[in-house]
Symmetry: C2
Subunit: 254 residues, 2 copies
């Protein structure tokens, strides 16, 4: 085997081992034996476990980034759902390595590996913005998208920890979660509100978002209850600043 | 000074330095000089920078956990807003150390320090459940609360990175975010739906949640638009499984 070929083989073998056991529990001996070569020969291609681990993380990151790509056609909810499905495929394939890396539990190569993770987050962030047709988001819309990327990670890590919920449900819930995070920001940010209006305009009535909106309206008290101000009230903006709203809502007794 | 007193002093000094510079950029010499003692004397109390860093992280974690405590009276939105305000006080006080620890960028003591971070997340999770008056949540409600704790972290880290948004707005938005994440789960989970109904029943019409609901309804197309199924449709459940809904929503051309 040539040098590049052998390096590729070792990265693939390492990645496979990290996908079934935490990186902390995989030794250079394990990798050598799985690759059918001697321990000194592994060191010939990688100076140590750190550098092999980093190369494996970089390979996994490239794979994940490729899986996040999605054509810009059809309703956003359908696109996001397909991306979430491929994301959970990846998470399912790389469980222990994914957990160890994101939980920061791996004792190997943390600083460089974390930089690679940040690159994937950045790629995911840029992908979502491209789907929203936004080039330079304001800070609030940027936060919505970054928060959602974080939400997907938290959800995936929680799923891996016992796999007690069907992943298909979590994929749908993450699509809903995106809309929900955008919606609460849209309440105070016109750029995000405009994005939501554009998304909703392209969603079919019998799609994921239509059902979500219908179901959420069903959670409100009958006839709106005391919470709802009449719909002919001035639209769009709650009266006063958030601070005033909080003060108004605070109980009078301490 | 006695041994305990001296250790306490060194922890306090270290924590103060980590609050203005990343832990990677603080040396034992810096700590010794800030404490007005010699470098060997620091080593007399702590075997190395690792152990002093871990002690400082543990101290900060105790402080944060204490700040998360909130009496169980008044509307939930007001309680959560007060907790978020104290959370952002803490984040503002410990910026560089907080970022380095949560971004996994600190080269010192990561494994033990991460375990301490996980303990704080767990404490926050249990606090929120106690406010919801839930002892043993189902997996979906548990995920809502864990996701929200993660959302607060992402938001705080994004805020620290340039402080481009007023923190008061982000505190309000996190309270909204909790309701939003719970609401999308409530669409498919009766336990969470019941929690939302209880929350809403205790919220004043002119409070944070009332304004949020009113504003969100304002985002919907006029007269409901094509998205809205009539309100007398069977309540609570979208027809079919999420997969069917996704298939129904998929565009017919590839």
């Amino acid at each position: 085997m040539g040098v590049e070929e052998r390096r590729e083989q070792l990265i693939a073998v390492a990645l496979e081992l990290f996908s079934v056991r935490s990186p902390d529990e995989v030794s250079i001996d394990d990798i050598a034996s799985a690759a059918g070569i001697s321990r000194p020969l592994v060191y010939h291609y990688f100076p140590g476990k750190h550098s092999l681990y980093e190369a494996a993380v970089r390979r996994a990151a490239d794979e994940l980034t490729a899986r996040l790509r999605e054509p810009h056609t059809g309703p956003l909810s359908v696109r996001l759902l397909r991306v979430m499905s491929r994301y959970f495929d990846f998470v399912a394939d790389h469980g222990p390595g994914f957990s160890a890396l994101l939980r920061g539990g791996a004792t190997v190569g943390s600083k460089q590996a974390n930089a690679v993770v940040d690159d994937v987050r950045q790629a995911a962030y840029e992908q979502v913005l491209a789907h929203l047709r936004i080039d330079a988001p304001g800070p609030r819309l940027a936060l919505v998208v970054r928060s959602w990327v974080g939400l997907a990670e938290t959800t995936a890590l929680t799923w891996l920890d016992g796999r007690t919920m069907p992943r298909a449900d979590l994929e749908v819930q993450l699509v809903h979660g995106f809309l929900a995070l955008a919606a609460v920001t849209a309440a105070d940010d016109e750029e995000t509100a405009e994005v939501i209006r554009r998304i909703i305009a392209n969603e079919p009535a019998d799609g994921l978002i239509g059902h979500l909106v219908t179901t959420l309206l069903g959670l409100l008290p009958a006839n709106g209850g005391p919470l709802l101000v009449p719909r002919d009230a001035p639209p769009g903006r709650p009266p006063g600043t958030p601070e005033e709203a909080a003060t108004a809502a605070a109980p009078t007794a301490p």
